[in-house]
Structure formats: structure tokens, C-alpha cells
Symmetry: C2
Subunit: 440 residues, 2 copies
């Protein structure tokens, strides 16, 4: 399909942060073929396109990237949110007792629906049964970095980290060169895997030219363990073991010293900041403005629905801006224009995918978000970045295209029945709900 979108303000999110007023954008199949002034739109494009969409002054920007989540965990949302030791009381035992492929799939479908309706076109997922999850993402037209979690303890879809690695290899073979699915190697954390599995995970990433991701410097016990056993931070430990590299996406990094940040920068390691989930679990605020200053690339993540609850990034962007302004005691710090890249252009660099996504430039993929500017909360628009970061929310997401496919049209999913997604989820999650009831 060949579409032309007209009469909008386009935030290209390109290297110069070009903003095009009275802009138009066209794409042919999955590829952008025109991004510029509406007045200069070639008439040949209008003559040959399948549909022209008049946006009446809406905002166009690249779809958002959610750089860290666990889509399979929808069933846990709102369960024991404010309980002590929720991980060991609810999450791990229920996961071991009730998680299976059917539930991970039904949950991931809902998670993808939620993210699309919130303007997110790509996500990095770390969970189980990722071959089935990747299949669902592909069917729904969602761009997914699919990471099978590696963990030494027996868990719902593997007996140990080595078995997880085998699954990761199968995932890689299945999805090499897929237009939407990119495998990612995903050890859960340094402390939950043997050193040899960590090294094999890294080697696998290097062998196939892929990324790898893990939770890092997140937990108090993790900080204590590495201090006690090695006299190092977890980041220092990875550096010593040559595990800190430029294909690693380190999620959270809440606890970092200046030396840790220098190590991340030196090695080109990327950081995924999940401010909402980190605050909700009272773990602290990662020092991301300092990291970015030192050259570390940062993306934002919602974390899973059990931890961050909502899978939308408007809240994460707003939190990033206002929390760090407050930490720095400076209202001019963290301007809104420096926040939107964390879910678009900078996030795409985090994913080594800036050639394809994260900015609206001819030749790149048609991953397009349209935000309406007609709702009262979007009025007026002196600064579109401010509007996105400080005023807007999920209710303002009007259209979403991913890889040229129109997935959300006028605030509704186009090709998916939400009723069916819900019914299927509740059917499949029945044993989980029964088990959860017993424990609460």
C-alpha cells in the first residue's frame, strides 16, 4: 500500500531535529518515500497513492520504542502491588506454578495491543516462550526484539541457563533477517546466571551480530553480593570479565558510581531507564542525565506490567523530565526536546537500528505515530516537544503505522478484536487466577 499523510507538523527526530510545519509524508510499502513540505509534495505521489489521509494539523513523529518490558506478565498486573517481597511471595511462585506458552502468548497479545494503542511500535521483550511470542508479534505487525530469558534456576520453560541458550539459538535461526522480529540474547541478570552462560550469551550475540540485554545494578542484594564477593560493583565485575560491550543493553542501572558510568561510556554499553517501575518499587532513580552527558546512549522502558503496570511511555517521558529536573534542582535542565529522543531517535541507536527506525527520513521504515492536537489537553501547541512530554497521553494517539501497515486508526486497533483478545486471555489465565486467589 502507498499512503500519503498531509497537513501535519512533522517532528522528524532526525540528527538536526528538523520540524516541518505544514508537512506531508508518503510511504510505499514499508519505506518512507517523501518527508517534507506539503506544498512541495510531488503530484506523482498523490496520483499513484492508494489513500490520502488529511491530518488537519496533527503531529507526526516516529512511533515510540519501549526498550524494556516483559509482555508475558499481564496476568500479574495489580496483584499485590504494595506487598513486601512481592517477587518471592507472588511473582516467582506463580510463574513457576502457572506460566505456560498459552498464557505467555495471550498476555503478549494484550500487551502489544496496549502498546500500539499508546503509540509504541517497537519493544524489547525479555520473557519466556519467546518463539511463540515472536510469532504473535509478527502476526500483529509489531516490531519486536525478542529475548528468551536465561536463568540458572529451573523455570517455566527451561531447566537452566544452558537450556535457555539452546532456545535462543533456535529463535535466532527462525528469525534471521525478519523484517519485524529481531532476536536478542537475554540473560536475566549477572547474579542469576553462571559466568559461563553469561560468556556464551555474549559470544552468541557477537557471532550473529545481535544485541544482548540483562537487568543490571538494580537490586540492593545484587550490589551487596558483588561488593562482598569481588570488591566490585556489578558493572565493575562485568568489565573485569570482558562482558561490558557495545551490544549490551543494561536495564535499570539504578545504582551507579561515577566509575561505573565511565565504564559504561568507555565500552559503549547502552542503558535502559525504567523510572516508573523503579520508583514504584522504591529502588531509586538511575543517574541517566549524567550518563548521557558522559556519552552513554539511553532508552526508556516501562518494565513489565507487574512492575510498571502501564505499558505506555508518555508517563516515562514525563517522569524522566520532571524527576531529573528536581534532582538537579534546575527547571531548565532536561528540556522536553531532549526527552522525546529517549523513545525515538536515541532509542533507535540503543537498538543499533537507527538506519531503519527512530526518525522519519526518506528510505527509513514507515513507523509513524500521529498525535491529534484537538483534545482540550493538547491546546495550544507552542512547542510540540513540550506538548508530548508534559501534556499528552494515550488518549491522544490517533493513528499508528508500523513497517507501513496501518495498525491503529482513529484510536482503534484495525485488525484485532479486543473482545477476542480479552476473552482468550481470561480463558487461558483461569488457572493462574485460581492459584493467585489462594495466595492473596
Amino acid at each position: 500500500m502507498k499512503y500519503v499523510l498531509r497537513h501535519a507538523t512533522i517532528l522528524t527526530m532526525d540528527e538536526s531535529m528538523t520540524v516541518i510545519e505544514n508537512g506531508a509524508l508518503a510511504f510505499d510499502g514499508d519505506t518512507l518515500v517523501y518527508v517534507g513540505k506539503d506544498a512541495e509534495l510531488p503530484s506523482s505521489l498523490l496520483a499513484t497513492c492508494d489513500e490520502v489521509v488529511d491530518l488537519a494539523d496533527a503531529l507526526i513523529l516516529p512511533t515510540f520504542i519501549n526498550a524494556h518490558t516483559h509482555m508475558g506478565m499481564i496476568a500479574f498486573r495489580s496483584l499485590g502491588d504494595d506487598s513486601p517481597d512481592r517477587l518471592r511471595r507472588f511473582l516467582l511462585p506463580l510463574e513457576n506454578a502457572c506460566m505456560n506458552e498459552e498464557l505467555a502468548v495471550a498476555s503478549s497479545r494484550l500487551a502489544i495491543a496496549e502498546m500500539l494503542l499508546a503509540g509504541i511500535g517497537s519493544a524489547v521483550d525479555m520473557y519466556y516462550f519467546e518463539d511463540a511470542v515472536a510469532k504473535v508479534a509478527k502476526e500483529m505487525g509489531f516490531r519486536l526484539w525478542a529475548g528468551e530469558t536465561l536463568m540458572e534456576d529451573p523455570h517455566c520453560d527451561a531447566r537452566n541457563g544452558r537450556e535457555g541458550l539452546k532456545k535462543a539459538v533456535r529463535l535466532i535461526e527462525q528469525y534471521c533477517d525478519d523484517p519485524l522480529i529481531t532476536p536478542i540474547i537475554a540473560p536475566h541478570a549477572p547474579y542469576s546466571n553462571s559466568l559461563s552462560v553469561l560468556k556464551e550469551a555474549q559470544a552468541l550475540a557477537h557471532e550473529y551480530g545481535l544485541l544482548w540485554t540483562m537487568h543490571l545494578s538494580e537490586m540492593d542484594f545484587e550490589m551487596e553480593k558483588y561488593a562482598k564477593e569481588y570488591g566490585l560493583s556489578p558493572i565493575g565485575f562485568l568489565e573485569k570479565e570482558h562482558l561490558l560491550d557495545s551490544s549490551l543493553l543494561a536495564a535499570h542501572c539504578i545504582h551507579t558510581s561515577d566509575e561505573d558510568i565511565a565504564l559504561l561510556a568507555k565500552n559503549g554499553t547502552k542503558v535502559i531507564h525504567c523510572p516508573g517501575a523503579n520508583l514504584k518499587s522504591a529502588k531509586g532513580i538511575a543517574r541517566c542525565p549524567r550518563m548521557r552527558q558522559e556519552g552513554v546512549l539511553v532508552g526508556l522502558g516501562t518494565d513489565g506490567p507487574a512492575s510498571g503496570n502501564t505499558l505506555e511511555v508518555f508517563t516515562q517521558m514525563k517522569l524522566y523530565a520532571i524527576l531529573h529536573k528536581n534532582v538537579l534542582k534546575d527547571r531548565t535542565a532536561i528540556p522536553a526536546s531532549s526527552v522525546v529522543p529517549l523513545c525515538t531517535s536515541e532509542a533507535a541507536k540503543v537498538l543499533h537500528a537507527e538506519k531503519n527506525i527512530g526518525s522519519l527520513v526518506v528510505g527509513k521504515k514507515a513507523d509513524i505515530l500521529v498525535l491529534e492536537l484537538e483534545s482540550p489537553n493538547m491546546i495550544p501547541c507552542f512547542d510540540p516537544y513540550s506538548v508530548i512530554v508534559y501534556s499528552s497521553g494515550v488518549q491522544n494517539v490517533q493513528h499508528v503505522f508500523v513497517n507501513g501497515r496501518w495498525l491503529v486508526r482513529d484510536h482503534e486497533l484495525r485488525d484485532v478484536s479486543l473482545t477476542w483478545l480479552r476473552e482468550e486471555f481470561f480463558r487461558v489465565a483461569q488457572p493462574f487466577f485460581e492459584e493467585a486467589k489462594k495466595r492473596s
Copy 2:
């Protein structure tokens, strides 16, 4: 009109925090006549009502209360958000040059539309031309505490505080015993008014049995001024002058010592916490959990659209929970069930209005919010308070009734054309936009 709402989970927000599963609720005109089990709904109510609404398992709760805002300031939204000294560079000069009754009214209409669509049925407003603003609120069916701002410096609708007081008296006479509009006396801040105006404002509140509100302990220069001139905090200064009383709603209170909090508690003074706006301006976080522990009643506010940008309280509730968990380094602190009262039952007590609003109890007013539980982000619902605080957003607001009038139906305003509101606002705001352009 007589309505019955059926098949919902009702969070009554009454003193016992009663939650009714499979609940039903009925109201006749402006008054609740049934709140209980659907199975026990008297058949006479069903037989005589005008409309039965089947809610298919949605959540019912009291409409939210936004306890501090400046509705007339929509035109400032997204203008110079991250600029230094925004107040003196943009806000004050533009207000002096361009604010008039027409703009305050057009702006307030948009603000009320935005709040209704976000599930807010009542607000405390502090701005100018409040007689005209109150008229608009009444027309739109919104419950408003309308406060004419008192300020010593010449401003857009009065030459000084005393002239403002005269306007306040006229507002009181006009709206005594109105079902929707309650006048409130609103000195801008202690530092921006003479002591005699502050005392007259308080006397006026006492004479008519009304509330009064002002910004307090918000600004760094304010803290320095009272320390330097009186060796006191602003709260200590008010206490010394017998101005701290139980009809005062003190907005912000960002900077408070333990002694300040004890003074607020002793005098029954209420605090309005605006976490989003306070963080955005890098001013700090008010110590509200401590205040509540000491017996101070707290409500949440968005602040004006120039400061907090979005006029919805889902974000304020989420911020309250996660910020204070983090300050207290305790994920079990600030459970979600302790946050919802800040915009419902506790907020109603802050407004001395708990006999009428803030909880769903027979005999009270029909101020009712329905949140749908069908969108992916609302699934599942183990704990409705968690769902409200951590997962939900404006997009989930399905119906809003205020004083028995159905104002939002299926996510849309019933009696107002948004197109007209927008067009009217942009027409009226034209001189403002031209002046703003010159300054940016």
C-alpha cells in the same frame, strides 16, 4: 432524571472504604438513593427510573476533585516550559498585557472540558474574572470552588488587593447557596498581599462560613523573605498573625519543617499537594505522608495548565504513590488505597464538603465516575485501587455524572461541542498568541 447504574464494582470511598462487587447505584435528580448489591436493588427503582445503564463490570467511584488549579491559563500551556524565570519572562507580562474576561472564560471552558473528560467533577479555581468563570462552570454542570485572586500589584482585573476583595464579596452574594458554585477567598500568597488584605480575606471567609486558599511555602525567595524579615517560616508567620486556621487551604507547602507541620495540624489547616507541577519547576516534593501522619488533611491538585500542563489527576495520584515510596525507601509505603482518597473522600473533607461529595453514600450528591475495565491496560483487576493509581489514565474514563447530570457519556462530552470550544478559544486568544510570538 432518575438513573440506575448496574453491574459494576463500586468503590464507595466511605469511611470503611466499602467495596461492593456486583453493585448497583441509583440516583434521583442530584441525590443518590441506592448504593448496594445489584441483587438487592429494589424493583420499584427499576420500575420508575428513566434510564438503566448496564456497565458490564466497570468500576464506579466518586468523581475526582482537583483541589488547586488556574483554569483561565490554558493559553500559556507549552509556552517556554523549560525557560529560566518563566514567571517574569512570559507569565506575568503576558497576563498583564493580554488577559481579559473573554480569554479567561474561553480558557476555563476548555479546562472544564478537559477535566470532565478526565473524570474530574469538582475543582478549586484561583484566577481572575471569577464571576464570569463561575457562570461558565455552572452552565457546563461542573462543581466549582471559585476564587478571585487577590494581589497587591495591579493586575488584569483589579488595581490592588482591596479591589479584589470587593469582587470577592460580589461573587459571594451572587453564589450563596448555589448547588454547584461555592465562592472561596483566594489571596495569591502571603508575600503578594498586604497583611491587612490577608486579614480581611480571612475575616470574609469566617463571616460567610467559606474557605480561603493561597499559595504557601512554595518559592525559595518566599522562604528567604520570611526568614530574613521575621526569623520565621511563612507558616510560622501566618500562625503568629492568627491567619493559620481550619478554613485555609494552603497550596503547595513544599518547604516545611517538623514545626511547620505541627502548626498546620494544630490549626486544622489543609494542604493541597501538586507534585507534578512542583517537580516540573524543580521546587521539591512536599512532605505530605508526614503531614497526613500528623493529622493534616491533604488534597491533590494539578496546578494551572501553565505549570502542571495536564489537568488530570491520574498522573498526580501515580506521582504521589511512587515519589513518596521512593523518598521513604519502602515499596509498601503509600498503598494505592491510601492514594485514591486524596482525590475523593479526603479531598472532600479538605473542602468541608464531605456531607455532599467524595463518597458514594445514599443521600449524598450524584457525582459519579465510571472507569471501564475493558481496555488492555485495565486487565486484570486484582485490586481496583491499584488499577486506578498505577494503570489507568484519561482514556479509561467512560462516564461522568455531576450533581446527577450526565456530562460525559462513552468518553465524549454530552452537551458541549468541542469544535466550538476550540474555535472560540483560538478566536479569543489571537492577541495573546501574537504577543507571545513577539516574546519567544
